[in-house]
Amino acid sequence: MSCIEQMKYKLYLERTSFKEAREYIEKNSEEVYYVDPGYKIFKDYYIIGVPPVAMGVRGKEMLFTYVKPCHGTFVMGIDSEEEINRLRENEKEKIKKSLKRGLKEKAEITSQPASFGDMWKK
């Protein structure tokens, strides 16, 4: 049993499909972040899900999906500034990486000859 079940949580959807749970989080959160399945929260719970897995922030509460093989998907809410900050940091890292990739691609493009004349020089 995950430590989540021993924490103080709220249930917003019970025994639903993963798709409906994701849509609930997307519609009912002030901020939505997407993570891969396997993203770790609260020390020992790895998120189970179909990518893209939505995680929501509503005030001090983090909304996330919790899947049990015999009971389906639940949308849970737990107050945790620490986990919310980690989500935001994770998002910043993703943006940084995609910016770096973008700059690298741009550099590769600009390193190509700019005109037919330049090509001829080569």
């Binding site: 798709k19 790895y46 189970i48 179909v50 899947v67 093989p69």
Partner: protein, 149 residues
Amino acid sequence: MTEGKKALLVMGCPEVPVQTSMVIYLSHKLHKAGWIVTVAGTDAAVKLLKAADPESYYVQNTIDLDELIGEIIEKKVDFDVCFVFMHSDAGMTYGATFSVISRARIYALVFGKNAEALAETIDYPAEKIVAKATHNPNPLKNKIDKVVL
């Protein structure tokens, strides 16, 4: 050549009768072909297996599903092939998770009353083996027998 390769069988909720017998069947078949087989499931699903195979003749290695997911993510273990048994949306969701966290080739074994509709929701890389089987294991068994590894 399959000798020494590792296969994982992931059980869903054991409420549909064909699952436990097909897990035992597939585990034995793979083991005889030289695969090292591990079966993962919930506490109830593993208990059902162990009760049916008390001397581990057909199923040699079992592990708790959540514990295994942690071990794969932490790169302590991984597999060459992974058969995910599923008859519900939750099972399909676990299959999606394995397709992301593991390097194994994924086989989605879809069964139960709504097997075809459930199989249509699978949009991750997996070979689908679909049979509308709940009590009679033969439709699923026949399809498993056609899988070439």
